[in-house]
């Protein structure tokens, strides 16, 4: 046990005050005696030791002192050290979706999660701050950044499970934006209390959020990559050693394939089998001819997808890599900028779609996407273009939809206006359109001229 305010033990100095009170405020039985002369002499003789002899066998006094000691102890704010890293800011995300109402935990997953979160509030150290987000269909800030435990507890107690699905992305984004502003010396953490029944975490695949997932519920299965580190192979300098920890937090044995990619190019696939509750360390050896990003991904479909992929773009920057980073197709999404944050600055990505193109076809595409409420990325544009090309091919072949007709029609596609630009097929049936190189600048993709 430790104490948050050990100086409060100075309050123990008040104990003698109680004793003094006790000596002063003593209820006495009045008794008439012939003469107090003998008693005076008696007192005079025993005066030296009298004040403390008076205290002997005095349960009332002992109780009072005990109470005072307890009060002092409480003022000293004792806490039990947990394994928590010291953190300036903790963002607590409490999943309040319908699935949290299931009762495989007693009394319910939500209550369990709330209790867990309360423990974290209790272990909050002086000066550390906490934010509480309740997430269901909407994300609600239950308590803004504060270090006041009573307010945090109140906020947690005011949370309630709702009958709605989980949309975790906005909450994670909010948490991310909260911790992004923190300085380097602080150790922000995001604590997610959830049962893992969250569908849409694909945006966070390539991210280095300091996310700590507190799993609630027994039935769910989750396999997570908990650590990723790349080092030069000590035995062969031309190779890289990639250390990965795969943790199985579910109650069943899990099998998965681990995919190691360099800039999206699959280098190796390795099947692993992990007993329940265990962490399996894996070592990949790969030669690296050019700068790039190693990605390790588990193919198993589990309940919380956010931790399946670990990207090291962020880590590369954090570890002081100042060289250029060239990304593959996987980087070509606004989500990448969001996830990698400031680390994304300067990363160059080849792309087939220039989102900023003022071309009318592109503007039309953007408008219709906006109407549908989708934030388009390269793949959206490519899919859209594909349909346009198909329609053009059918048109060119005179409206015939036979196999041969469409093949013939595709060959006739020439300088078609698509969001990707003027599109044609070469005689070798390669797609021909204006490619562009994007670079992240000021948090946005800019076309490199």
């Amino acid at each position: 046990m430790n104490f948050l305010s050990p100086f409060a033990f100075l309050f123990a100095l008040t104990i003698p005050v109680v004793i003094v009170f006790y000596l002063l405020k003593r209820k006495r039985v009045v008794k008439l005696v012939s003469s107090t002369l003998l008693w005076q002499k008696f007192l005079a003789e025993t005066q030296a030791s009298a004040p403390f002899q008076k205290l002997r066998r005095n349960w009332l006094l002992l109780l009072q002192i005990l109470l005072l000691l307890l009060a002092v102890l409480a003022l000293a704010r004792p806490y039990f050290a947990t394994k928590a890293k010291s953190s300036d800011l903790r963002v607590i995300i409490l999943d309040a979706s319908a699935s949290m109402q299931s009762t495989d935990e007693s009394p319910s997953r939500f209550e369990k999660a709330r209790q867990e979160a309360l423990k974290w509030v209790d272990s909050l150290r002086e000066g550390d701050k906490m934010v509480i987000l309740q997430v269901a269909a909407n994300t609600e800030v239950k308590q803004s950044e504060t270090s006041e435990k009573s307010a945090l507890r109140r906020a947690l107690l005011s949370c309630a499970a709702l009958d709605s699905p989980t949309r975790l992305s906005p909450a994670l984004k909010m948490a991310e934006s909260l911790i992004r502003d923190r300085g380097k010396e602080s150790n922000p953490e995001i604590h997610l209390f959830s049962d893992g029944a969250v569908p849409d975490l694909s945006d966070f695949d390539n991210k280095a959020l300091p996310l700590i997932y507190h799993k609630v519920g027994k039935g769910a299965n989750n396999l997570g990559l908990t650590a990723l580190d790349v080092k030069a192979n000590p035995e062969d300098a031309s190779q890289r050693a990639i250390y990965v920890s795969v943790a199985n937090v579910s109650t069943n044995e899990q099998s998965t394939d681990l995919e190691l990619r360099l800039d999206g190019k699959l280098l190796e696939t390795r099947p692993v089998k992990i007993p329940p509750g265990e962490v399996s360390p894996q070592l990949f050896l790969a030669s690296q001819s050019s700068d790039g990003v190693f990605t390790v991904q588990s193919t198993l479909q589990d309940d919380l997808a956010a931790d399946n992929a670990a990207s090291i773009v962020s880590q590369a920057r954090q570890r002081g890599w100042t060289g250029a980073i060239l990304g593959g197709n996987g980087f070509n999404s606004p989500a990448f900028i969001k996830n990698a944050g400031t680390a994304a600055e300067g990363v160059m990505v080849g792309t087939s779609w220039n989102s900023l193109s003022q071309d009318p076809a592109n503007q039309k595409f953007l408008a219709s996407m906006k109407k549908a409420g989708v934030n388009p990325d390269q793949f959206s544009a490519q899919a859209y273009t594909g349909v346009i090309i198909l329609a053009e091919a059918i048109q060119r072949s005179g409206g015939k939809t036979g196999r041969e007709d469409i093949v013939a029609g595709l060959g006739k596609v020439k300088d078609l206006d698509t969001p990707l630009g003027k599109f044609s097929f070469t005689p070798n049936r390669d797609a021909q359109h204006e490619p562009s190189v994007q670079q992240v600048k000021d948090g946005k993709f800019q076309i490199v001229q």
Binding site: L38, W39, K41
Partner: protein, 298 residues
Amino acid sequence: MPNPLLTPELLRRLEQFQLLAARRAKSSARGERRSKARGQSVEFADHRNYVPGDDFRYLDWNLYGRLEKLFLKLYEEERELPVRIFLDASESMSFGEPRKFDFARQIAAAVGYVALCGFDRVSVIPFPENKDEMAVRGALRAVRGRKSTLNYFQNITQLTAKGTANFNESLRRGALEARQAGVAVVLSDFLDPAGYESGLTALVGRGFQVNAVQILSPEELSPSTFGDLRLVDAETGGMEEVTFGRYRMSSYQQMVQNFCQRLREFCQGRGISFFMASSNTALEYLLLKQLRQAEVWG
């Protein structure tokens, strides 16, 4: 003779005693004590020359026959022994079980009875003064003769213990009032905040043969009330806050012993016979054994 003070058996035993005075009586009244005064008795004392006017009956004719000179035979005058009993009748004496004052009255009655039987003059001086008992106290100022014992006992029975005593002052005045010194018996608890030294010294200085009996109640010797006490002095009204428990009993008793021991040593240093008695002491033991052994009477 119904007597609440002393049993007939005890009275019979006491009749055999006589107060022993170390010095010759100085009283002017005749009694049964040897004195330095010359007067009428059967005890020859001295001869002296005849001077005209002397009573012829006391001429020693045998001596005249041999020496042809006239001598007068002188006899010792037997005088009475004044016995003054200083009886502490302050409020503090009314405490105890049995009451200290009752015990003191029994001793006063016994001493008085022995004195009266020996034709000595008894003065009981209760202190402090009590105006309600003027008549009774006046009657006890001077009691003589065996025939007065009944009245004496009755008057003593009517005394009450009340008020605040000034021990030293009372004894000093008693010593000054006495025309002749004699035997003084001091019956008190000696629990006076001002002490007892100057009073006893005054009596001794006046020439009294002093016997001091300290009477304490069993409660005072070993208190039976424990806990947090606010003790109120019955006489002075002074308060004393004491926390007393069984574990302090021995130190209390030690303190009482020290107090009594100091009094005893003070008395021994001045030729005062000192007795300490708890008020539940058997009266016979004190009167027939202790006082006799100490040669107060015999």
